[in-house]
């Protein structure tokens, strides 16, 4: 395939993915908007008014970047995991496998498609948050950088899950038992400075902490962040490279795709 043909193939797969999640927007875009509205009402308004400021920020201001990041992570991951597994399950993945599209391009396009949903949902949550609080922007480039890197990394992880899954239950395991606990303990609702004993140190082994704090830094500045944002960029970069290489290996091996 020429570079031009590869670009067309890439755009086609991304378009297919975007068409898919837009077609089922009541399952993909609406639920996070409703869930996050509830978070804002319960934690931001009802409870938040009784919680003292974290640094110089109100509690609702503090949790908005974390909730945006939570939506981005969950949606980027689950979009690719469920879409790729469904295409395996229906065998429509064979449409791609019989075509000349190289493996790396299939992975990249699925990842960009999934990341698009993650970022779109992130924007929806951001818009919802504006009904409850005002948001300051400390660094727009940093906001974009963290949103994009996180969405791409978790979409890549979703692809790995979709490749390895053998039944529909398998694509719910990682979000339920790994992503959700890590996200909740990743500083979405609190600053790790408030944790007692060794827990601030333990929390620093949770990669999601760096992503949440990176985005929080982008919105609120250094005063609201528990860790240095460049560490987050490095961690995301490493995860992305490792997971992408693993996906390439699985595709080349034809894991669950070729006999």
């Amino acid at each position: 395939m020429t570079s031009q043909q590869k670009w067309v193939a890439f755009c086609t797969i991304v378009r297919k993915e975007v068409v898919r999640f837009m077609r089922i927007w009541t399952q993909t875009l609406l639920p996070p908007a409703i869930t996050m509205s509830l978070y804002f009402v319960v934690f931001g308004v009802l409870l938040g008014e009784r919680i003292q400021k974290i640094g110089e920020f109100s509690y609702i201001e503090f949790i908005v970047p974390g909730l945006i990041m939570m939506s981005v992570i969950t949606n980027s991951f689950s979009n690719v995991a469920s879409s790729f597994f469904s295409s395996k399950f229906q065998r429509s993945v064979e449409e791609l496998l019989v075509s000349p599209v190289p493996d790396w391009l299939i992975i990249s396009a699925y990842v960009v498609g999934g990341a698009s949903r993650g970022i779109l949902v992130g924007c929806v949550v951001l818009l919802v948050s504006l009904f409850f609080t005002h948001l300051s922007v400390h660094s727009l480039p940093l906001i974009f950088l963290f949103l994009a890197l996180t969405a791409l990394t978790f979409a890549t992880a979703g692809f790995t899950n979709g490749m390895l899954a053998r039944k529909f239950d398998d694509i719910a395991i990682v979000p339920t038992f790994i992503l959700t606990p890590l996200t909740y303990f990743g500083g979405v609702f609190y600053s790790i400075k408030l944790l007692p004993g060794i827990w601030p140190t333990v929390s620093k082994f949770n990669p999601i902490l760096y992503m949440v704090n990176g985005l929080r830094f982008g919105f609120l500045g250094a005063g609201a962040s528990d860790v240095a944002w460049p560490t987050g960029v490095v961690i995301l970069g490493i995860f992305m490279v490792v997971l992408f290489s693993l996906n390439l290996y699985l595709m080349k091996k034809g894991h669950g795709l070729r006999s």
Binding site: M1, T2, Q90, S92, E95, V98, S99, P100, R258, S259
Partner: protein, 325 residues
Amino acid sequence: MFESRVLGTITTINMQKALQISNLRKTYANGPEALKGVDLEVENGDFFALLGPNGAGKSTLIGILTGLVQKTSGTVSVYGHDLDREVSQVKASLGVVPQEFNFNAFETVINTVVFQAGYYGIPRDVAMTRAEKLLRSLSLWEKRDQPGRNLSGGMKRRLMLARALVNEPKLLILDEPTAGLDIELRRSLWDFLIDLNSRGTTIILTTHYLEEAENLCRNIAIIDEGRLLTSEPIDTFLRKLESQVLVFDLSQAIQECPDLGEAMPCVLKDGTRLEVRVNKGVTINQVFEKLTHQGLMVESMRNKSNRIEELFIDLVSSKKETLKA
């Protein structure tokens, strides 16, 4: 009925082989050896039938060509491109209609075809034009905005054909394309394929309808238990037939089976239906002479079973006996 004017391209006929397979083997993990050293050649422009009983290895062979099954050893080349070294060129030359439905059931008909074109690097505007042409030709244009799951079985099969043709493949592989179709649809599809082949597309067909192979194909290969039993022109293959059973419908009922001689033993099925086994070397004229001599008038005549079917069964069972011995 759907029209058979599709892509309007004429491929220059040359002597290049469409497909060359040499000593192809496939052993599945913890499973049987599905292909045991198959050698096969298909000429450019051919209409080729690949026959064999269930589990013979046909789908494995097609799976290897399309990249869905990884071969254990052997070489495969499509239009001179080696599958190991030039997989992209091989895939670009192929169109595949699988046996089972494998499109996204929730995707619209038009998107299924247009997206497939995109995977081959065909720009969207060109893809849309081709998709419209194909869907109109296959009587699916009215259904273009319907999701695939809403189509009937025949329509789904035609959708897979449209999808396989959107990249204008030089070699089209059809795995049981008419399975489950009614006679009218099957014949329409035959016309479509004949026209496609006449425009230069090489077609490899697997089918259980042996009549289909006899009507459509010029060359035939029979595969069984992972081995190639024969590969030759259909005419040559049919000449191997030792005998055939002809059914004669008589204009008047008779009570006893007539004596037509040792070379053409017969059985009276009911008063007006006579089955005559005609051995190799005996002409149909001779049979009619005998019947006329007996004062029997014939209203119609047909083969009891398909000629390829008889040869196919003979060949498969005799090879099995040889292997057992």
